[in-house]
């Protein structure tokens, strides 16, 4: 039935010229054509399509057959339905590029990963050929195509392990490789355009350094590269050559960097962009849009952590300058919550710090905003990130950053962190660092003005204090309180009364008032309170009078069971042990300072 309809309309149109085809002719052709193909009569359709007499018609209407053809080709991947393939090839050669483009692009969109991967594999090459036929007007169509392709690519699951990358079950690696092949001729064309425009500029006597009218193709390729830097590259974990010798994803990343170079973007300028004031390029994209911050951060990570494009990156920039630029990228990455971003932020920070000598960063760097924001972001990662190894790594990087500061910078940094981190564990960690610095300053020959004498006292006063006086919740602030006590104990042991290098002995009477006395009161109060609780809980347990608690906690939709009496008793015991611990250090300090205070 459909075949007859098709033959009829084809016959009829043979006699007409192509501007007198009616909309009805179009409809009949495409509907009947589709039915024939779907019913498996593609061989007949092929002969009709190949017939010389029908070429005008094919050129005009052939593209409407693309949807059913492609669907058939995608479905029957394993078989080789050669008539369909032959029809497809012929249409690609005969029909008008603009219409072919629409037909092909429509068929890219799918929902399930398998079909997406197959359609990309099938259609990228035809799309490339069609675009190359568009001549000088190809730029916007290329942009549309790339945008569509990347949208589809974003739906594919990403490999997380080396084995997953090798197996490539969802074909992401293959798609990336196909994509690089797709883009190649356009990159080449842009490079040629750049060269010839530079030559004409030179001939016209213009100074180098300013671009004339923006090349549209260049803009589209830049947009594309920037987009891929965000996705998939920022999400992926690239493997180094010694882990995975052949990595399509690493090749993909390298090709993106090469593309940037080919279209005239210097990788080092991009990486250092946060600190460089670039000249406004005549074009139709604002700078922020043109160089999205996240893409630049991804680029910095590829260059500094994976050493891609290392051959073309000048080895002349100072390590401090690299750090300053990378801090901007690190700040952005660490302010996000996705595991991939945080991990890359930590890696980039670490790699930038490792290049520096210990104690080499001066205090004036702390005037730069990112040098204060990044530690704050680090604290968030260390205290709130769900992944344990990221929390641990964050702490490691924090310590590394502290080690690179010089003494004055450390001093200022510690003050800043004590003021802003609002977390007992972090404060405790900083106080431990302060102890280390004081210890270093007291070594013969290492004396410095920051961790000794009059400068040290303001810092000590901040450390040896209780956040809420005697009512401080000692369990909540345990880390901080214990480190402060440890520091004080260390000072009274290490610094002899007769030397008083740290000034602790002259301060001691004040510390007694503002720290030790309220602490003793607090310990006693807390202990009394918890002993009471313990007594009550034991009584309740014995009496087996189960009270309904006022509060309940639910996770998901399940209510957590109330704490058993035994667990409660255990918790109360450990609280009491904590108070004992605090008290023991207090007593020790008293012993050490007995009688010496009034000297």
């Amino acid at each position: 039935m459909a075949l007859e309809q098709l033959s009829d309309v084809v016959q009829r149109c043979q006699a007409l010229s192509d501007d007198s085809y009616t909309p009805e002719d179009h409809d009949v052709f495409s509907v009947s054509g589709r039915t024939c193909i779907e019913e498996g009569n593609s061989a007949q359709v092929l002969s009709l399509v190949l017939d010389e007499k029908n070429q005008d018609m094919v050129r005009c209407m052939g593209w409407t057959l693309l949807p059913p053809l492609i669907q058939v080709l995608l479905k029957k991947r394993d078989e080789k339905p050669s008539p369909c393939l032959a029809i497809f090839s012929h249409l690609l050669q005969t029909c008008r590029p603009k219409e072919l483009l629409i037909g092909l692009l429509e068929q890219l969109e799918h929902e399930d990963p398998d079909t997406i991967a197959e359609s990309l594999h099938l259609l990228l090459n035809p799309l490339q050929k069609v675009l190359l036929c568009l001549g000088s007007r190809k730029a916007s169509s290329l942009g549309m195509t790339l945008s569509s392709v990347l949208d589809q690519l974003a739906k594919l699951p990403l490999p997380h392990t080396k084995e997953q990358e090798e197996d490539d079950v969802f074909s992401l690696c293959r798609c990336c490789t196909d994509l690089m092949a797709f883009v190649k001729p356009f990159v080449h064309e842009t490079r040629q355009n750049l060269l010839s425009s530079e030559n004409t500029n030179k001939k016209a006597g213009e100074q180098g350094g300013g671009r004339a009218a923006e090349d549209e193709l260049q803009t589209e390729l830049l947009k594309f590269s920037m987009k891929t830097l965000s996705h998939p590259l920022l999400e992926l974990q690239l493997r180094d050559p010694d882990t995975l010798a052949v990595s399509p994803l690493r090749d993909f990343a390298t090709e993106i960097l090469n593309t940037l170079r080919a279209i005239g973007e210097s990788v080092s300028s991009l990486v250092f962009q946060p600190l460089l004031k670039r000249k406004q390029v005549l074009g139709f994209l604002e700078e922020e849009v043109r160089y999205p911050k996240e893409s630049l951060a991804s680029l910095a990570h590829l260059v500094f952590v994976h050493h891609l494009a290392a051959d073309s990156f000048p080895s002349v920039f100072s390590s401090v300058f690299c750090l300053r630029c990378n801090m901007e990228h690190v700040c952005l990455l660490l302010s996000r919550t996705e595991e991939s971003r945080i991990q890359k932020g930590l890696e980039l920070y670490e790699k930038s710090l490792v290049r520096l000598e210990d104690g080499s960063l001066p205090a004036d760097l702390l005037q730069i905003k990112t040098f204060l924001t990044v530690p704050q972001n680090l604290v968030k990662v260390m205290t709130m990130c769900p992944q344990h190894d990221l929390r641990t790594r964050g702490l490691k990087v924090l310590q590394l950053s502290i080690d690179k500061f010089d003494t004055e910078a450390k001093y200022n940094f510690f003050q800043y962190m004590l003021k802003t981190s609002r977390h007992s564990g972090v404060e405790g960690y900083i106080i431990k660092n302060i102890k280390v610095q004081i210890d270093a300053a007291l070594q013969p020959g290492n004396s410095n003005v920051w961790f000794e004498g009059s400068q040290l006292l303001p810092l000590l006063r901040k450390v040896l204090s209780l956040p809420d006086g005697p009512e401080t919740d000692l369990l909540q602030y345990l880390d901080r309180v214990m480190e402060s006590l440890n520091l004080l104990r260390y000072l009274v042991i290490r610094d002899k009364v007769t030397d008083n290098q740290t000034g602790i002995w002259t301060e001691l009477y004040k510390i007694e008032d503002t720290f030790l006395k309220p602490l003793r009161v607090g310990v006693n109060m807390s202990r009394a309170h918890y002993e009471r609780e313990l007594h009550d809980t034991r009584a309740t347990k014995r009496g087996k009078a189960k009270e309904e608690s006022v509060i309940s906690v639910s996770v998901g939709s399940e209510k957590l069971p109330n704490m058993t009496s035994d667990s409660q008793i255990q918790a109360l015991h450990s609280a009491l042990h904590t108070f004992d611990m605090i008290e023991s250090v207090l007593v020790r300090i008293e012993e050490l300072t007995a009688g010496k205070e009034n000297l």
Partner: protein
Amino acid sequence: MADEPTRQWSDEQLKSDDLPKKDIIKFIQDNAAHSFLNEQKLLGNIKNVAKTAKKEQLIAAYNHLFESKRFLGTEPIEEVTEQVRSVKLEEKPKDVPAEVVDEVLEAGLFIYLFIHYYYYLFLCFCNFLLTGSQGPPKYFKSVLKKGDKENFPKKGDNVSCWYTGSLEDGTVFDTNIPTTARKKKQTKPLTFKVGLGRVIRGWDEGIMTMSKGETSRLEIEPEWAYGRKGLPDSKYPFLWSPLTF
């Protein structure tokens, strides 16, 4: 000079899997002469050396060290190099005459620094010691081709250069000078603001002594380049030695 180092491990211990490669490498690096390390390819970041060297090689090198007794400080060559370096620092710079330039070029040496700027400055003579540098400068400059001697960059100016960077033994590790005619059209000189600490100190200080159009060779000590540690974990871990641009 310290006493001769003694063997730390027996043959059994060396071959055992309990002894990591890194320990052997560290021992050899701590105790062997520079030239020995160079020959045995044991220079540089321990992690990187561990990746490239096999355990057998390391054991062989360890034994060879004790046989040849080429310990740290025994090489007369090292001392001579030190002396030569200090001599260079004290010399006043002379304009290199044309014959020497030819010799230098014939020897196959590297740097060609062309400088152009965009800002004109007041006249000053090429100074070896710069204002603002503390202590003796840690680089040595030899002029290969004179500039206009009038236009010197000041802090914050944009400068553009063509450069080639190499190690003491002549290995080129970085350059922006195009090798082929085709690439010549594509490459641009490296442009940056001088004197702001964006580049290694040897560059910042050295370039400010160069006038427009000048070509010079800068031999930079590690302290004013990437430090004694170099750039660990990077593709070029060897950048701890003195660099020549």
